[in-house]
C-alpha cells in the first residue's frame, strides 16, 4: 500500500516542475516534500538575478519566483508539504522524514529526488589558517540580506570567478559592502571573460592564478595572505572571506544510502530517463551535476516528471531490476557525464536527449562519442572548464554494450 504515486523530494525548480508535470499527465497522488517553509530552493535568496524566462516566459526575482512555483503546484493539485525534511531513502520507494509532528515513513510507487546543489564551504576546501567568524558562501551571504537584512562583513575578499561570483559582487555592492579583491585560483576566469570587466569596472582588483594561502583572525577575519600569479605574497586586510561557487550536489541522502554517488558528478548516476540504479528512484536538477540555471533545472524536472508518468502508465512496478545497466565511461580531464548510465531495454522517449559534460580544466583536444568501439561523433577544439557541453545521445546508445566518451589531448 503506497501513500502516494510519486513523492518528490525538494521544492526547487526541478522538483516543482516534475510534480506539476506528473499531475498534468494524470498521476493521481503527487506529494512534494520541502524542508524549508517556502518553495523555490536556491532561487529564494537570489534577489538580484532574474528567473523564469525559460520556464514561465516571464521575469521573476528571488522569492517571487518561489511564489510562482507555489501557485503552479497548487493549481496542478500537487500535495505540497513544507517543513518536511527527508532524512533517509530506503529501498522500495520508502522515505523516512522529519515532520513538525515527529518522524514519519512514507511509501510511494516512485521517488524523485531533486535536492539541488550548494557551494563548497571553507572546511571542504581545506583552506589554511585560523577559523574566525566571517568566512561564508554566497548562499549564506544572500540569505543574510534576503531573509534577515543582515550583513556578515563590510570588506570581504571574494574567492571564485563563476557567474555566482559576479552575483556575489553585486550583492556586496548593493548592500553596503566593498570587496577588497576578487581572486580565481585557475589561470582563467570561469565566467565568460567579458563579464569579468564588471568587478574591475567597480574598482575591485581581480587576480587570476591567485591562491588564498592563509586566513588570519582570532575572532573575526583580520587579513588574508594571497599568492599571486607571479609568486609574490600579498597580505590584504579584510573583515571577511566570501567563498563563491564550486557547487556540489546536495547528495547527503544518496551518500548514506546503498546507492551512493557517481564519483565524477558527486550526484546520483541516472539513465536517460532520470532513473537511478534503484528502479523506484529518479533524480533531476542540480543534484545531478553542479550547476545549471533555474530554468535548465526546471525543464529537466519537467522532462523527468513526464518520464516517470510514462513509466507508471506502463505499470512496471517490478522486473526492472533485471535490466542491464551500462555505465558511460569517459577519459579525463572530462570530469562528469550526465546521464552516466544506459539502461538497456528502456522503451519510451528519454528525458535526457543529450549527454551533459564538464571538463575539470581547460584542455585542447578531440572529444568523441564511441559506441561499441565505433566513433559516432567527434569534435576538436579548446574545451573550457565548468562550461556546459551537450552531446546528443544517439538512439543506438540504448542498445550498445559499451558507451565511451573519449578525449585525446593535443599539445
Amino acid at each position: 500500500m503506497s501513500d502516494a504515486d510519486v513523492i518528490v523530494i525538494g521544492g526547487g525548480p526541478a522538483g516543482v516542475a516534475a510534480a506539476v508535470e506528473l499531475r498534468r499527465h494524470g498521476v493521481a497522488r503527487v506529494v512534494l516534500l520541502e524542508r524549508e517553509a517556502q518553495l523555490g530552493g536556491a532561487t529564494r535568496h537570489c534577489s538580484h538575478s532574474p528567473f523564469g524566462m525559460l520556464d514561465f516566459h516571464r521575469v521573476y526575482f528571488g522569492a517571487a519566483y518561489g511564489r510562482r512555483l507555489e501557485a503552479e503546484a497548487a493549481r496542478a493539485g500537487v500535495e505540497v508539504r513544507t517543513g518536511h525534511s527527508v532524512v533517509q531513502l530506503m529501498a522500495g520507494g520508502r522515505v523516512e522524514l522529519a515532520t513538525p509532528r515527529g518522524v514519519e515513513t512514507l511509501k510511494a510507487r516512485r521517488l524523485l529526488i531533486a535536492t539541488g546543489a550548494r557551494e563548497t564551504p571553507r572546511a571542504a576546501r581545506l583552506i589554511s589558517g585560523d577559523r574566525p567568524i566571517g568566512v561564508v558562501t554566497t548562499g549564506a551571504l544572500q540569505s543574510y540580506v534576503a531573509f534577515h537584512g543582515l550583513m556578515p562583513f563590510r570588506r570581504p575578499l571574494i574567492v571564485g570567478s563563476e557567474l555566482v561570483s559576479l552575483s556575489a559582487v553585486l550583492t556586496c555592492l548593493s548592500h553596503g559592502a566593498r570587496p577588497v579583491a576578487m581572486i580565481e585560483p585557475g589561470p582563467h576566469p570561469l565566467a565568460p571573460a567579458p563579464l569579468m570587466w564588471f568587478p574591475r569596472a567597480m574598482g575591485i582588483p581581480f587576480h587570476c592564478g591567485a591562491e588564498l594561502l592563509d586566513i588570519h583572525g582570532v575572532r573575526r577575519v583580520e587579513d588574508v595572505t594571497l599568492r599571486l600569479r607571479d609568486g609574490t605574497l600579498q597580505k590584504l586586510a579584510c573583515d571577511g572571506v566570501l567563498l563563491t561557487g564550486r557547487f556540489t550536489p546536495e547528495s547527503a541522502l544518496l551518500l548514506q544510502s546503498a546507492l551512493g554517488v557517481d564519483p565524477g558528478s558527486s550526484g546520483p548516476a541516472i539513465d536517460p530517463y532520470g532513473r537511478t540504479a534503484d528502479p523506484h528512484l529518479f533524480a533531476a536538477g542540480n543534484l545531478l551535476r553542479a550547476v545549471e540555471t533555474a530554468g535548465w533545472s526546471f525543464r529537466e524536472g519537467r522532462a523527468v516528471g513526464r518520464a516517470i508518468a510514462e513509466d507508471l502508465a506502463r505499470d512496471r512496478d517490478s522486473g526492472l531490476d533485471g535490466d542491464a545497466l551500462i555505465p558511460v565511461t569517459f577519459d579525463p580531464p572530462v570530469k562528469l557525464v550526465v546521464p552516466g548510465l544506459i539502461r538497456r531495454g528502456s522503451g519510451a522517449a528519454p528525458a535526457f536527449p543529450d549527454f551533459q559534460l564538464r571538463f575539470a580544466r581547460q584542455a585542447r583536444g578531440r572529444l568523441s562519442l564511441v559506441l561499441d568501439g565505433r566513433e559516432m561523433w567527434a569534435q576538436e577544439k579548446t574545451w573550457r572548464p565548468e562550461r556546459r557541453i551537450v552531446l546528443p545521445i544517439p538512439s543506438a546508445a540504448q542498445t550498445a554494450g559499451r558507451v565511451h566518451i573519449g578525449f585525446e589531448e593535443r599539445a
Binding site: R35, A37, G83, S85, V87, A98, P100, R101, G102, V103, R118, E119, P121, R122, A123, A124, L126, I127, S128, G129, D130, R131, I133, V136, T137, G139, A140, L141, S143, Y144, V145, F147, H148, G149, L150, M151, P152, F153, R154, H175, G176, D214, V218, R219, R220, D239, T248, E250, A252, L255, Q256, P263, S266
Partner: protein
C-alpha cells in the same frame, strides 16, 4: 581610562581558574562537597581553549605510563563517568579500539603494548591477527598485519559532558565569571584575584588554566614549576557517510614522539582523522594547513580505503597544554591554599572527573570548613549524540534550523536561555551542533545570525545591511 571593574562583594570558598573540561569537573566536585565556588574564565565561554578540540575518546588508560598519577586519574575519571553518565543523559558508545600494526616492525611492539595494558589493569585486551582484526572491522586495509583489541574504549560527546559538570555546579550555587582574565592574585590569608571582570576573593584557588597554566601560576605569584609548550593537533571530520566504514577506534602503534593519527567514529555520526602533533610557541592560534589536512585524508584512506574521496565536513585544530615533562604537572601549596592541575595533555577528557576528585582531596588537606555536602542535582542536557533520540524526532520542535545536523529551533532557543548559555558562536555550536554539518552554514548561518542577535560576544552579523 576605563574605571576599575567593581569588586565582587561576596567572598568564595574556592576560585577555579580556567573553564576547560578539567575546570568544569573541578567546579562540580567542589560544589558537591559543599564549597561556594567561582569559575573564572578568560574566554567568553567554557571550552574556549584546549578542551574545544579533542578526539572525544574515553580512554581506558591501557597505554598510560604504568604507575603514574595520570593512569590513576584516567581510571578514576573513567569509572566515575561510566557510573554517572547514564543518569545525566551522557551517552557513551562502546566501540572498542584496535591498535593496528601495519608492518612487522610495528607488530613486534604489540606484545609490549599489551603487557603494559595488562599492567595498567586493563584486562579486556586481545592480540589479534590481521585477518581476525579485520573480521571485527571489514573496512580496514588488507595491509593490516596484526592488532591489539582494546574492547572497553568508548567514544563520548566531548562538549555536553563538561557542560553538564558545570551546569550541576551552577545548580549547586557555583558562579561562572566569563571574559575574566586573571591579572594578578594576592594571598594574605585569603586570595584576592584581580581579573578583567572585577576582583574576586576566595579562600583557596585551583589553577585549571590549561594552555595558560604556567602563566596563571606566575600571576598567582608562584615561582615557575613547569612550562606549557603548546602542541597543535589538526583534525579532519568526514561526512556521515563515512561512519558505516569506521565502527571502531583505529589507533596506530605509538612512537616515542607521538601517539599518532587516529581514525575513529564520533558520537555525532561522523568520522574523525587526526590529530597531528606540532610543537609551537603560540598559545592562541591553532591554524589548519592545507597540506597537513590533505596528508590526514591520505592517511585515513590508507587505513580505511573506503574513506578515499569521502566528503570533508569540517576541519579543526586544537592546542594541547603539553609541558616540558610527559607527566601531569600537579602541584599543591597548602601554605597558600593553592592547587595547580597543569600539563594535562591529551587525556583531560578521560581524566577530568578523576582530576576533580584528586583536587578535592588536596583541598581537604587545607582544613577549610565547607558547608554540608549536597547530592548531585538531577539534570539532563539535550542529547546531541546519534545513538540516543534527538529533539527533531519528537513532536513540536518548532522547525529544523540546521538541516545537516538536524538541529531544531527549540534546541537553539533552549540553549540560548540555559543556565550556562553560550557566550560565542563556537559555544552555540558545541551546545547544539548547529552549523557543524556538511554545508557549514550555507543554509543556516544567516538564520543563526538572526536568532543570536545581541546574545553573543562576537556577533555573526555586523549589523543592518545598509547601516
Amino acid at each position: 581610562m576605563r574605571p576599575e571593574p567593581p569588586a565582587f562583594d561576596e567572598s568564595f570558598d574556592i576560585a577555579v581558574i580556567g573553564a576547560g573540561v578539567v575546570g568544569c569537573a573541578v567546579v562540580r566536585r567542589l560544589a558537591l562537597a559543599g564549597a561556594k565556588v567561582v569559575l573564572i574564565e578568560k574566554g567568553s565561554d567554557i571550552l574556549s581553549g584546549a578542551s574545544k578540540a579533542n578526539s572525544a575518546i574515553l580512554h581506558t588508560g591501557f597505554d598510560a605510563p604504568p604507575g603514574s598519577l595520570e593512569l590513576d586519574l584516567i581510571k578514576a575519571g573513567r569509572e566515575e563517568y561510566l557510573t554517572l553518565g547514564p543518569g545525566l543523559g551522557l551517552d557513551l558508545v562502546k566501540t572498542g579500539a584496535l591498535v593496528c600494526a601495519w608492518n612487522d616492525l610495528e607488530a613486534e611492539k604489540l606484545d609490549a603494548i599489551a603487557a603494559q595494558g595488562r599492567e595498567n589493569g586493563v584486562s579486556n585486551l586481545a592480540l589479534l591477527s590481521g585477518a581476525t582484526a579485520r573480521a571485527t572491522m571489514p573496512g580496514l586495509s588488507d595491509r593490516l598485519v596484526a592488532a591489539i583489541e582494546v574492547a572497553d574504549e568508548h567514544i563520548i560527546d566531548p562538549w555536553t559532558a563538561p557542560l553538564t559538570y558545570l551546569t550541576q555546579g551552577v545548580a549547586l550555587g557555583a558562579h561562572f565569571l566569563r571574559n575574566a582574565e586573571l591579572i594578578e592574585g594576592r594571598f594574605d590569608g585569603e586570595w584576592h584575584l584581580a581579573t578583567t571582570a572585577g576582583t574576586v576573593s576566595a579562600r583557596a584557588v585551583v589553577n585549571t588554566a590549561g594552555l595558560y597554566g604556567d602563566i596563571v601560576d606566575a600571576r598567582l605569584g608562584f615561582s615557575p614549576e613547569f612550562e606549557i609548550r603548546p602542541r597543535k593537533g589538526q583534525f579532519v571530520v568526514l561526512d556521515k557517510a563515512a561512519y558505516a566504514h569506521v565502527p571502531r577506534i583505529v589507533l596506530p602503534v605509538p612512537t616515542e614522539i607521538t601517539k599518532g593519527v587516529v581514525v575513529c567514529p564520533t558520537a555525532f555520526g561522523n568520522v574523525l582523522i587526526g590529530p597531528t602533533a606540532e610543537e609551537q610557541e603560540d598559545r592562541v592560534r591553532a591554524t589548519v594547513e592545507t597540506a597537513t589536512l590533505e596528508g590526514l585524508l591520505a592517511r585515513g584512506a590508507q587505513i580505511v580505503p573506503a574513506l578515499a574521496g569521502m566528503p570533508v565536513t569540517a576541519v579543526y585544530a586544537g592546542l594541547r597544554p603539553a609541558s616540558e615533562a610527559k607527566a601531569y604537572r600537579i602541584f599543591c601549596r597548602p601554605e597558600k591554599r593553592a592547587v595547580t592541575l597543569g600539563g594535562i595533555r591529551s587525556t583531560g577528557l578521560s581524566a577530568a572527573l578523576g582530576l576533580a576528585q584528586h583536587a578535592l582531596k588536596l583541598i581537604e588537606g587545607f582544613g577549610l570548613s565547607l558547608s554540608q555536602a549536597s547530592d548531585a542535582p538531577e539534570l539532563r542536557l539535550p542529547n546531541l549524540t546519534e545513538t540516543c533520540p534527538r529533539d527533531w524526532q519528537a513532536p513540536d520542535h518548532g522547525e529544523i534550523v540546521c538541516h545537516c545536523e538536524m538541529v531544531t529551533r527549540r534546541e537553539i532557543e533552549a540553549a540560548l536561555i540555559s543556565p550556562v548559555p553560550p557566550g560565542d558562536f563556537g559555544g552555540l555550536r558545541r551546545r547544539t551542533r548547529a552549523g557543524m554539518g556538511r554545508c557549514q552554514g550555507f543554509y543556516c548561518n544567516a538564520r543563526l545570525a538572526e536568532m543570536t542577535r545581541g546574545k553573543l560576544r562576537e556577533p555573526l552579523a555586523i549589523g543592518n545591511e545598509r547601516s
